[in-house]
Symmetry: C2
Subunit: 392 residues, 2 copies
């Protein structure tokens, strides 16, 4: 491949695009070696070299063995048939954030998956435009009603606030997240582990069509590529890389969603988790994650949006109970107020005794509290007003 | 008070002990000024000065007004009647950890409450001996069944591991914590906000007697002192100061338990919280606390014990799901395994196609998987064994 010069990423050629489609078909999605070789040498040069049998790696031999079956016309027709477009780096729609996968690979030697060299995309949104506000919401397939409910609320809240909700299109939390965003006519993106013509699960065909109608379907896998466990794992890196942060809603220990979470952490994305009952095995993985210092607990959409938008533009309000005017009282006056009976009135001397205060001071404070509406003087002493401030 | 020399804390005199009892009766429990004046000048000197009317502060005038009512014989009889002893600094049983309250006050000017100058204690345990292993478990009074259940389990687990469970004797989480420790014959301590002869809530008389029988009841308030909201708040500082860490199980926003949590944080104790459903208002305060970096999420007793025992003596096992032998497989072999059908067998070529791998490589890997028991060869191809490893 020595003769080829690296591709000019700013102006991809049709020949390079087609060569990448073919490479997508012959190598495993996200294969770190393939990603690096295509990036460094262009897919065109790599395909030529594979066809010439000139690459000594065992893996390259497997690619070469499969190249004749990766017919470019078949791939183009399949792409057209599913209404998708094939994006590669240098396209205006290509999201710059995916480069972080290359940085992770080159800085840490991470071999779990490189920057994809191409993506099939179906839908009306521009991928590069959804990414700046995107948040991933992922979790267990065998989720609970609680998890589905919370995932839906979070997604609806994030989408309503203008964030695009990215997930994996699976049963359970993923589906609840997509549906939550769709419910408020918000943007949502499903990143698939299989080719665009092989929806997984099959039963989600309708949901995924709906996602594509207003949002985006996305896959690194060529049409025809079947879903598999290892493909779900490399797919997860795209969910993490395409978003500012990942929220895990329910996850058992060793759940695949925690794999997305690890990608988010390794890519420097915000890692968020929704707690649940400690008695639920489906929250155990989230809790274990939340015990790590790099993750943050979130309970509602405002807290998520705050984490995934530029600093200061969306601060979640600090939660606090209703304020009550008694908070304005100083401590001795609160002590007196605490000592005033709710219904039957008490004389000032007895209130003073309960408040452990001299009767003269107590009387002065009762008078002040009465002026401020906290207590009322009745014929036989002092009591709280019928609908007074909160009693102790 | 200039003539008096500071008390020699290592050998408290009877006169000083009695003077502190009286000061406990005339001033508000935990009053920061009283705590400091008694510490700096001895209670004996302070009482003399108050009786002589020689202190110009308005607060001192209130104390002086109440001194004649704080009869020492009445206090002693009341102490005897409830079977309590009155401890002061310098007693062998006095816990050194309470000094942290003085350090907090002097280093930050914190005025919420000083080091107590005396404590009523009822029970057979020695206070100084329970503190080195003590953990506080606190939470909402209006707790849920979930909260009570988890508090009970945590307390039982901590107590079984040798930690003494400290709480406030209240309804809800406090009671569940005491009961959990009692259920495993473990040590438990209730720190009261009222005098030892005024149980609060009254309905917990039986529970508190049971706590005293095997553990300890503790109060800074003199016999006769009624409970009040402000007294609960200063009482909370003792729960935090007497323990290595505080676990909040359920707490609404602005709950009193969060006040104990703040004391724990300010005193450099470990701050722990048990999560719950984000849909539960009774977990909202805990979640808000867990969003702060100084707190840690805990889900079981082992995680609590790990935090409150000296480093390395009790490491909670990192939670993980069951391991499966497929984790030992390399990625290409897992890809092949993913492509093997569960029931109806498939030929190697079709498995190779699904695994996106050359047929020759796939065949070699199938043979290896077969040797290791992951797949079986049948007359028409390959399939998973009837009860094989987990399928994708």
């Amino acid at each position: 491949m020595g003769a080829s010069s690296p591709v000019d990423a700013s102006r991809p050629t049709d020949a390079e695009r087609l060569a990448r489609m073919r490479m997508s078909r012959v190598c495993e999605p996200g294969d770190a070696d393939a990603c690096r070789l295509v990036r460094e040498h262009t897919a065109q040069a790599l395909v030529e070299r594979l066809e010439a049998g000139g690459l000594p790696y065992p893996k390259a031999a497997a690619w070469a063995e499969r190249l004749p079956g990766a017919d470019i016309d078949v791939l183009r027709r399949a792409t057209d048939r599913v209404g998708a477009r094939y994006l590669i780096p240098g396209d205006a729609e290509w999201p710059a954030q995916l480069e972080d996968l290359r940085l992770l690979e080159s800085s840490t030697g991470d071999r779990r998956g490189g920057e994809p060299f191409g993506l099939w995309v179906r839908g009306t949104l521009a991928l590069s435009e959804v990414v700046p506000t995107a948040v991933a919401i992922v979790g267990a397939r065998a989720s609970t009603e609680y998890g589905d409910h919370v995932a839906g609320l979070l997604a609806a809240g994030c989408a309503a606030a203008g964030s695009v909700v990215v997930s994996g299109g699976a049963y359970g939390i993923d589906a609840a997240a997509h549906r939550g965003a769709l419910a408020v006519d918000g943007g949502t993106v499903a990143v698939l582990a299989s080719g665009m013509n092989r929806f997984y699960p099959v039963a989600h065909g309708g949901l995924l069509d709906e996602v594509a109608a207003t949002g985006l379907l996305l896959s690194e896998a060529a049409p025809g590529c079947a879903p598999s466990r290892s493909r779900f794992l490399v797919r997860n890196r795209l969910i993490a890389a395409l978003t500012h942060g990942t929220v895990v809603v329910e996850a058992a220990l060793r759940s695949g969603s925690l794999n997305t979470a690890r990608w988010a952490r390794d890519l420097g994305r915000v890692l968020m988790g929704v707690p649940g009952p400690v008695t639920s095995m489906l929250s155990a993985g989230v809790h274990e994650m939340l015990r790590q210092p790099e993750s943050i607990l979130v309970t509602d959409a405002a807290e998520v949006v705050e984490m995934v938008t530029p600093i200061g533009t969306a601060l979640a309000p600090v939660k606090q109970g209703s304020t009550s005017p008694r908070d304005d009282l100083d401590r001795p006056s609160r002590r007196v107020l605490d000592a005033v009976p709710k219904v039957a009135a008490a004389p000032a001397a007895s209130i003073a005794a309960i408040a452990e205060m001299g009767p003269s001071e107590a009387l002065g404070r009762l008078a002040d509290l009465s002026r401020r509406g906290f207590v009322v003087r009745v014929f036989d002493g002092w009591r709280l007003p019928p609908e007074g401030p909160d009693a102790p």
